[in-house]
């Protein structure tokens, strides 16, 4: 405790870091999605009602029923359904320069997924714009195998 000491107001403060890597068992549905990402392929799962959920969940978010075992490849291109501009990126976020968070509906999907868009400037962002993934060369089966999305035609 207490490396920095600010006697003016009598307070006593110290830096503290909470750092721990979680090893998470992902289960067969998310596991299939992440395995796809490692192989630069994006897959969704079909619900009983025929909606395609991406990233796939074990359940239909509308009804909580189990999804089917039918997987479909989606994207890789998609449409931005909403976005928010980040002027000062934080530690562990996908990019270390200003970027947009966006919900992206990949072609063939019925839901949107969150990722970063490397657009350079907020003026380059627009709801409805087309984006495509920028894959990492080294992929390990994480959502971050997609480094970010980039504006596309």
């Amino acid at each position: 405790m207490a490396d920095s000491n600010s006697p003016r107001d009598g307070t006593l403060t110290a830096p503290h870091v909470l750092e721990f890597n979680y090893t998470r068992t992902v289960g067969p549905v998310t596991g299939r999605f992440l395995t796809g990402l490692r192989d630069s392929r994006i897959e969704g799962v079909k619900t009983a009602k025929g909606r395609v959920i991406v990233p796939p969940t074990e359940y239909d978010p509308d009804t909580a029923e189990a999804v089917t075992d039918e997987y479909v490849e989606v994207g890789p291109g998609g449409t931005v359904t909403t976005w928010a501009w980040v002027s000062r990126p934080r530690n562990l976020q996908p990019l270390d320069r200003p970027f947009a968070w966006a919900l992206i509906r990949l072609d063939g999907a019925d839901t949107a997924m969150l990722h970063a868009v490397d657009a350079g400037d907020p003026s380059a962002m627009k709801t409805g714009m087309r984006v495509a993934p920028r894959w990492r060369d080294e992929r390990i089966g994480m959502i971050t195998d997609i480094e970010c999305f980039v504006p596309a035609q």
Binding site: M1, T13, H16, V17, E19, N21, L34
Partner: protein, 175 residues
């Protein structure tokens, strides 16, 4: 299934992602509270400070600013002896990541003279099989120039050479 196909299937399965390692790091600036500040500043000056409850007169070290029995604030600062008694202990034989001390070592519950709250600390300069309930110990302080407002100012405790404390003198804190 042919041997080749089975091998292919198991290869496929081992290729499936079943786990991820998700990094986590959060940075904080912790501010010591009213009760902690005199305690920490005391350690920098080579003193162990506690607080006394105005109602039941129990003395708490480390002080938390309140009495858990009376649920009222504790404010009276009391200097406490750096000699105490081991009320209970365990011997650690397990090496774990980041561990600074060599196994086996004794992790002890120590009741300082004048305090009503045992706390955990290391006891060293004694063989693990010589550590016992009732053993009298004293603080080994960091050299004066290395003392900080931190619990690290007390390096560890070691036997003080006094006669063992009788069980009755600390039984309230183990039963």
């Amino acid at each position: 299934m042919s041997e080749e196909a089975s091998e292919e299937a198991s290869k496929e399965a081992s290729n499936t992602i079943t786990e991820i390692i998700a990094p986590c790091r959060l940075d904080y600036t912790i501010a010591a509270g009213e009760a902690q500040r005199p305690f920490l500043r005391g350690l920098a000056g080579g003193k162990i400070m506690g607080q006394r409850c105005p109602r039941c007169s129990k003395v708490y070290m480390p002080p938390r600013g309140s009495c858990p029995t009376c649920a009222i604030p504790t404010q009276e600062e009391i200097e406490i002896s750096d000699h105490g008694t081991i009320t209970t202990f365990c011997i650690v034989n397990l090496q774990f990541y980041g561990q600074a001390v060599e196994v086996p070592y004794a992790c002890c519950s120590i009741l300082l003279d004048g305090s009503d709250l045992p706390f955990f600390h290391l006891v060293q300069e004694v063989a693990a099989d010589q550590v016992r309930m009732g053993l009298r110990v004293k603080a080994v302080w960091a050299p004066e120039e290395e003392r900080k407002p931190s619990v690290e100012s007390v390096r560890y405790f070691k036997p003080s050479g006094e006669e063992d404390a009788p069980y009755d003198s600390y039984k309230e804190f183990v039963s």
